[in-house]
Amino acid sequence: MESQFLLAKAKDDELAVRGECGGAVSALFKYLLDQDLVDGVLTLTRGEDIYDGIPTLVEDSEDIISTCGSLHCAPTMFGDLISKHLSDMRLAVSVKPCDAMAIKELEKRHQINENLIYKVGLNCGGSLMPITAQKMIEVFYDVDPSEVVKEEIDKGKFIIELADGTHKSIEIDELEEKGFGRRINCQRCELKIPRNADLASGNWGAEPGWTFIEVITEKGKKLLDGAKKGGYIEVKTPSEKAIIIRGKIENAMIKLAQKYQEKYLEENYPNIENWDEYWNHCIKCYACRDACSLCYCKECDLEKEFYNDEDGVVPDPLTFQGVRMSHVYFSCINCGQCEDVCPMEIPLAVIFHRMQKKYRDKTGFIPGVSEELPPLFSPEKE
């Protein structure tokens, strides 16, 4: 189906004001719940502060209002949360590109039923680790992080808003140069507009108070049409100029990601001695495996006698990380969850991403985007 662009906003005044960019996404969720098209909506809500994004299942459309607003300091992952705990529900999910990639890989592996799920994509320039973000705001913005009431990323800047309405902004490039800013995985990520979801929405190219939506699938189109007919959203066509601006933003971000890939996967890539040092940290806690959306096996090879090293010694990287890599690296979506949860600070995502890129160059397989499974196990004679 041909892609289609439009601008949308919520008709409900409260949603339009409290939601991001006119609250179109919130309005779509409200429509889905009201019409009983889904049993629940999985999205993020703000916890104790803006650095605390908590995955929340909303089953009552009255509660949608509490999920409004975007959170950039919440590097969450919905893929395995759905496959492990919500796979039996009719669900609508707000997905960052990495969530959508994980969900797509899990759909191919029959861990998530794609017929049960609406994926409302959110354009994403990247997220920040909550603790890093707080340190950064303290050091570079000279602001007590607890006084920040809102943050946003716009035009290459990370902008904070204080209770008195003042704004402070700093170029993200500058922050990242100094080791702050977005997660390194996000810096390397090339998928900024989730064209692997049903809809991709965001503020790039949008007029103030409107959400720019790209319709990706037939299901997404039906959802928009239904919400429009039901009076939940109003839509209009974006100008040619808006479409061009959006494209330019996307291209600039992809170029930047490629630059960072070069930096982290080549120039600054750890050498063998560095890796030996890192592998030495490993305490065999299986956090990387447990955080990986792709590791869905009920019985894991890593815990089988023939690969497993005894407890209390550093596991052999060949049969620990090596075996895990040989199982999933070709499908790695570079979500960075393994690295985020590693208690021993091993930069796992770097090696997985680099290996996946090699595999991608050889086979053309793009995890989370390609429609088919990686060609590794296919019976094709090629």
């Binding site: 629940g40 916890g47 104790e48 502060d49 650095y51 605390d52 994004g53 908590i54 995955p55 929340t56 299942l57 089953e59 919440a74 590097p75 969450t76 949360l81 492990k84 705990h85 919500l86 680790m129 909550p130 603790i131 030495n280 940290h281 305490i283 806690c285 299986y286 956090a287 447990d290 955080a291 209390g312 010694v313 550093v314 969850q337 985020d340 949860v341 590693c342 208690p343 021993m344 600070e345």
Partner: protein
Amino acid sequence: MMKVAHTICPSCSVGCGVNLIIKDNEAVGTYPYKRHPLNEGKTCRKGRECFKIVMENRLKEPLLRGNGLKQSSWDAALDAVVSQIKLHPAPEVGIIISGKCTNEEYETLKKFSKNLGVENIGCHTGSVPSVDLGTATLDDVENSEFILIIGDVIKETPLLGRWIILAKENGAEIFAIDKPDETLTGVNSHQYQQVESISSIIDEIDSTVLEKLSSQSTVIISNLENGDNFEKLLTFFNQYDTKIIPVFQDCNSRGAMNILPILSDDDLSDLLEKIKVLYVVGDDPASIMIESMKNLDFIISQGCMVNETTSISDVVLPGSCWAEKTGSLTNTTGETQEISKILEPPGNALDDQNIITKIAEKMGLEL
């Protein structure tokens, strides 16, 4: 119904944040709590699997010994408790509590024992004596120039170990001492010294190591098999101008020692000899000294799990696990963190503080 809720991991004394995944009032998993400043969503395996504690071997109904332990009503169970406590003079009543309860429970129990006139009370910590010292913070560890580690911190308390790794990346020199040939902490240190026994460390330690102790250094003491060593080492390193982190066993050992007397194994067996009625809260003394418990007339066991002590008890009062209560825990570096109730206790189990209060009410005590 699914929700993700913040809590603190109860598995060790480090005090990591974890999110529990709750589905239909059951804990079904954990989810990284990246907002937590101590561990940023990282956990060890115990932390990731702490949700299993909620479901494991739970006590759901009050039990009363007749012909074997039989399910009873709360009233009957509490009446039995009260009549036995009343039957004995206060010096014959003993109360012990584990290092896994909340500070609020320690306070309540302290008041309870005080009003009852019971002096045989304490928290059993096994090897660790009561420590009253300002300990280093985790930021101190990260910014140390030199870190001396006794015990396998990286293996036993990985999320404390993580701060050692961070310090190393910051340029700190790491020196580890322990008994085994190799330890996970040892392989990640600049130098590892193997010693015959922990008690000989003071004699055997390299003098050049001691020279490196300064206000920019941290000594982490963990994994000690007996309390004497711990005390000796603390006294020894206290002579130096260095920061110290003792690693306690339970999630609130530190909080307990701020409020209640601490019982070593010896103290506990002394206490058991003096008394006739024992009231156990959240602990399992029978697993280590069942012999000393044979002379007791009456054992009251309150807690969330079936254990050896509950099986020899005369009354069993089903309490709550950490995820079912609101209160605070103090971790090994002395930081107090709030936890809130995110689950209902199973069956007829009650909140522990509530149980203590009910006993007090029936006894006619003000709390």
